[in-house]
Symmetry: C3
Subunit: 315 residues, 3 copies
């Protein structure tokens, strides 16, 4: 079966998941993003690459932050952006997901940025849209959040250069995190030799080792010698779900403090996809400290999203 993300020429047709994405395409996206970072320094932060294109932000699940990053990326490429909080409208009227998408396609959309609570929603849409329409998955259920994974790769490459000598540790709720899934696929594809996940058993998927990671339940052991530490957001609803005793308890065992970070490599970088729970998964002294690259991640995220859109529109 052909990769549903690639066209007949093996070029990117949709961005749905990092799983199965060739390393060459990941590198193409990162390379394309480079010049977009420097747009920040210009007077006019715009390029006309997508002028006259209509990009629809289809958010079936509300996420102002993610929606905003895509909106900014699209506007900096001079596209017309239409924001649709779809949950509130047609689906409420009993219309099916595919009817909604077909309708918007008929409005001559060029690209859909899709966020949905259900895993696989973006795939389903990609299977049904006309050939000239491109779909970007902006997060589907627990499945994937590929642009987040890609911006993380951009960040790591920016600070560390080469992936093939790194020790990378992902800390926290891997079980419920589409971000973690996307990161793991990207890091293994790019050849990271030692990829660790650090979490209590209740927050790890069964047989997570098969994804190519080493499992640690002890933070100190897992952080030892790490070049990159990626903290995951702890969703408070997990507490209510009785998977965890309390935020305080979690912080005691898995919260990243400056002291705990000392066992990592001296030039370790600390990442977080945001929004942060200060004092739960991360201490403010780390979040705002010299190892933190959390805000650069956000800046790079705009450039990476611009790159994905520009590549898709060109294919």
């Amino acid at each position: 079966m052909r990769n549903p993300q690639l066209n007949a020429q093996g070029e990117l047709q949709h961005l749905l998941t990092i799983e199965g994405l060739p390393a060459a395409i990941i590198r193409q996206i990162l390379d394309t993003a480079e010049p977009f970072v420097s747009i920040a320094e210009r007077e006019v932060k715009k390029v006309p690459l997508l002028r006259g294109k209509s990009i629809f932000n289809l958010f079936f699940e509300n996420s102002t932050r993610t929606r905003t990053t895509f909106e900014i990326a699209a506007k900096r490429l001079s596209a017309d952006v239409i924001n649709l909080n779809v949950g509130a409208s047609s689906t409420a009227k009993g219309e099916t997901l595919l009817d909604t998408v077909n309708n918007l396609s008929a409005m001559l959309a060029d690209m859909f940025v899709v966020r949905h609570a259900q895993s696989g929603a973006a795939h389903l849409i990609a299977q049904h849209v006309a050939p000239h329409i491109h779909v970007i998955n902006a997060g589907d259920g627990r499945h994937a959040h590929p642009t987040q994974g890609l911006l993380d790769m951009f960040t790591i490459r920016h600070y560390k250069g080469d992936f093939t000598r790194l020790v990378v540790a992902i800390v926290g709720d891997v079980l419920h995190s589409r971000v973690a899934r996307s990161q793991i696929h990207a890091l293994t594809t790019l050849g990271v030799p030692e990829l660790r996940v650090i979490a209590p058993k209740t927050l790890l998927p069964t047989a997570v080792e098969r994804l190519g990671v080493r499992v640690f339940h002890d933070l100190a052991q897992g952080l030892r010698g790490a070049d990159v530490v990626i903290m995951l957001r702890l969703q408070s609803e997990r507490m209510r779900g009785a998977l965890l005793p309390s935020a305080q308890e979690y912080f005691k065992h898995y919260g990243l403090t400056p002291e705990r970070l000392e066992v990592a490599n001296p030039d370790v970088i600390v990442m977080h996809p945001g929004p942060m729970n200060r004092g739960v998964e991360i201490d403010s002294a780390v979040a705002d400290g010299s190892h933190s690259v959390i805000l650069p991640q956000v800046t790079f995220g705009i450039a990476v999203r611009m790159a994905v859109m520009a590549i898709l529109a060109g294919n």
Copy 2:
């Protein structure tokens, strides 16, 4: 009394209802829309006709779908679009409708696209705005939805050419449908010789024959020989209102299936304003079948709305 939609030169000043609109103006709108359809095939789907104009989407009643079509149309004409979900704000603060509109007028609006649950709201606004401001009715109560009616005319002309030899059947809840009202006025103005409405008695306005339609309560009889079948959306709240026994019962008598469509003309087209209730008023085999022109309606809808805006801005 002068037609409130026309200026002293008999040109379109506002688009409020198709009732009373001269056939020449309906044809002018359809003709103007033609070149906008082909914009779809261009690389840059934009024309600078409304550059620097401010178009306000004043939605007192929420409708993401309709709002989106106007937003896209305006952006393709290079206008600046301001979306206002007015219900949620000033009116909640006790401000009157006219105060809200006067305020927005004072912000130098060029055009208002108005959606309101109350019949006559767009008329009221049109009566009070400054002479340079144009009002488009995007649906008011049960009264009118003229751009929907116009895009339906565009669709029929596109597939059938001439209106003066057609048998057109409108099926469903005519009583509560502003869409049906707009369609009936447009079709009679354009000279359709046989216009039928098919519905149970509880879903027809009293004395609907005076609008120039033939009434059928039996679907098979009404569809016989039809060139165009227009299905109406069945609003589920009508069920609760005890006007109808159930969705299943409705489908049994008035749902359009391929079998029932067989009595129509072999090259019949099937239309629906959306969003569809599959399995209630229309069977999926018809909605997605070879007679369906439901998605082209959406595409033409953008072009027709661009045409209305372009004509208004030019007058």
Copy 3:
């Protein structure tokens, strides 16, 4: 301590409050706004001054009207505008105000327009953003609403020319009004010799005289000889708070009617920041009468906001 609104060269860096703003800068804003008023008469109501700049409307408190005026102003300057109803998103996820702002800054924002229910929020943000980012306070708690104060000054100058011979009366709920506070600071800075506030004791701050105003509890006495009357909006929640007996009672004593206005100067102008409570603080015959400049205030408001943005972007 340096004025947090000015940069090292004494130029406007942020617009947070009119308190402490030098008269020269107020006049610079009003002068810059003048040509923007005439943009209204142009075919293309746009200038490219802010092309490629990203302006974020950060509304932690909902206000469609104010948000719209800033959105229009920014679009007429050709900026890219991102609307964020922040209350509904990140803060709900437990993120701090400064984390939210830091994130948006990292998306390469050029300007934040901030509305917040808490006094001092815009100041806090201004203290923490990168040096190239400008903050405009669009209303914070009971503290300040400087662009409203500035547009009022523009309106008074437009109709009266010179501030130094005027009798100005502010009528109504001064206690809870950030608008009143901004007006009082602006009017005293610009040299108004007689500034009056007219209100019941329960709606006046303690020691309001220290702001440089004369206090009247009787409407007729306070209006005598006034050149400018500024009505304040009476927020209905004040009624519930038992500060006032009823809307009817309030209107009887402080509602502005044509009869009561007769003691003012014959060429008096009447202003109101909107939205109006007709029949509570103001009679419709005054609101819509020949002395009213309430709608011109709105028009000038766009020009003044454009001026503030243009000046900030230039500094």
